[in-house]
Amino acid sequence: MSKKLKKVLLKGNEIMAEAAIQAGCRFFAGYPITPQNEVPEYMSARMPEVGGTFIQAESELAAINMLFGASAAGARCMTSSSSPGISLKQEGISYIVAGELGCVIANVQRGGPGLGNIRASQADYFQAVKGGGHGDYRLIVLAPATLPELYELTMNAFDYADYYRNPVMILSDGILGQMAEPVELKPYAPILELPEKDYVLDGCAGREPRVLKTLHLFPVMDLMEHNIHLRAKYARISSELKLVEQIRTDDAELVIAAYGITARVAKGSVSLARAKGMKVGLIRPITLWPFPDGAFCELASSAEKFLVVEMSNGQFIEDVKLATECKKPVEFLGTGGGWYPTAENIFEKIQAVYGEKPSPSFARVQARGRL
């Protein structure tokens, strides 16, 4: 008989912070911005209880650079922000990647561009999955759809960060951050066999000094070699870490592709469609990078059509088209500007595109067989 785990009712932002504490995060630096304020607030109260450090930084830029130092010194560390603040963190993220350090960054996305608004959004998809800052790099990007999943993925994020020595981004949003639902407080247990941190800067007693640098001037091939090394690391992550959930895609003629909170809404529309006898399924990437392209590619053979639903003007859809190699039409329902689709909105779109023949132009392109 397993002991019943304690269930708590917390906001998404709070449960994410608690997961970090459970996973051994002992350094948090952040800056206020809505809708992520509960993360630094929770951390400010919780960190002292576990002997960790909480710093309200002077800016997001300073916060991410504090992580650069804390991670170099061996701490499990985290920062959080929302869209405009994540833009400010991009400088530091690039350096942390270059130095091959691990850390966890949460983006509780809000509407943009600019100051935008404080409603939920998925408008930072490109920034999250295509690098974000300067230079050639990737973040591991996790997209939870429920609070239990947010709790679990946040704990896993620290393992991925340490295992691959790369920053991990939790791509949350204003809805996930502000909603509350019961979560079982599963104790943390590492999901990977974590390597020893033999790169930590803690003073050179009993060893040669270590230099953690991100400048590679000499010899002239040094930076290229570093990039080759990083590329090999990303290839390894790609081959090992693609997470995806599929719902009723076995016989689906129309597959909805959505991630995060949007996928949760889309689940409701799958039920609505199935109740009407329509063969509709859902594919939900849990890792947005590495993108689970294999699962999409397989569905491109079995299904007739895809419908991408996202809270942006069309970003995630580009990766869906790449992964399906444009073998099947990809319809789009996007809500930009901090707005979200309801299950009924998605169902209406399903009714409009389900069974509809591909447009003549798509058929012509396909007939040429060059895609």
Partner: protein, 258 residues
């Protein structure tokens, strides 16, 4: 007495130009680390600017930071490993332009770190552009007729600025443009490290230094420029010493008399 290379400096040739002050200041920092016996528990931060390559010269753990961010990075290290010695070594562009925010807030939080601030009134590494500390009338590649003709504002005085912050423990401005100045600079740097070891909080030593190359001067002219021009605008002295009875207005008076 033998004049040996400090253990904390590698026996390598530096990339610094003839007449540059960095070599002297590197040596002073290294001597202090040696004398305090903390090399094996010290983590330094390298800035962006001419001293970016200091990781090739210092025989201790070093992290190389983004431009202006060393105080934030040092904060992360020091809070994670409070019993280690953490210092930043930053130029005027790094500390007083792009990193002013990080400097002020690390200082005001009283982070228990040591900041070595090299003020040579110019951007050296990038080829002589105007620095926040460039003197009025001083020519730079981005102030070709001299500072002051294009609404650049006057030079930023870091010690004066930080001395208004209650969180700061120790601030002193020194120079390396004469043997007497070098001796004083070493004492000041040592005090800044000793305060950190004793857990006393944020220390910053501003060092007026020569940059003959970017100033388009000979090394001797550069020494005179520090002594005759820079010291006038940036007076030497202790601006704050919370642990000393003579701190505060008396110290300021002492400084004015110089």
């Amino acid at each position: 007495m033998e004049f040996n290379r400090p253990d904390t400096l590698y026996d390598v040739r530096t990339h610094y130009c003839p007449g540059c002050g960095h070599g002297i200041i590197h040596r002073l920092v290294a001597e202090v680390i040696d004398e305090l016996g903390v090399r094996e528990k010290t983590i330094g931060t390298a800035p962006v600017g001419c001293a970016v390559l200091l990781y090739d010269y210092f025989n201790c753990d070093i992290i190389e930071c983004a431009h202006g961010r060393p105080p934030a990075v040092a904060t992360g290290i020091k809070r994670t490993l409070p019993d280690r010695i953490v210092f930043t070594y930053q130029g005027d562009g790094d500390l007083a332009a792009i990193g002013t925010n990080e400097t002020i807030h690390a200082a005001n939080r009283g982070e228990n770190i040591t900041v070595i601030f090299i003020n040579n009134a110019i951007y050296g590494m990038t080829g002589g552009q105007m620095a926040p500390t460039t003197l009025m009338g001083q020519k730079a590649t981005t102030a070709q007729t001299g500072r002051g003709n294009n609404q650049e504002g006057p030079p930023l005085k870091v010690c004066e600025l930080l001395s208004s912050l209650d969180g700061v423990t120790y601030l002193e401005r020194v120079a390396v443009s004469s043997p007497k100045d070098v001796t004083r600079a070493k004492k000041s740097i040592k005090k800044a490290f000793e305060y950190q070891i004793a857990g006393k909080g944020f220390s910053l030593v501003e060092v007026l230094s020569m940059c003959p190359t970017a100033w388009r001067q000979t090394p001797l002219q550069a020494v005179s420029f520090v002594n005759d021009r820079m010291k006038e605008v940036f007076p030497l002295g202790v601006f704050k010493d919370l642990t000393s009875e003579s701190a505060g207005p008396a110290e300021m008076k002492d400084r004015d008399e110089k």
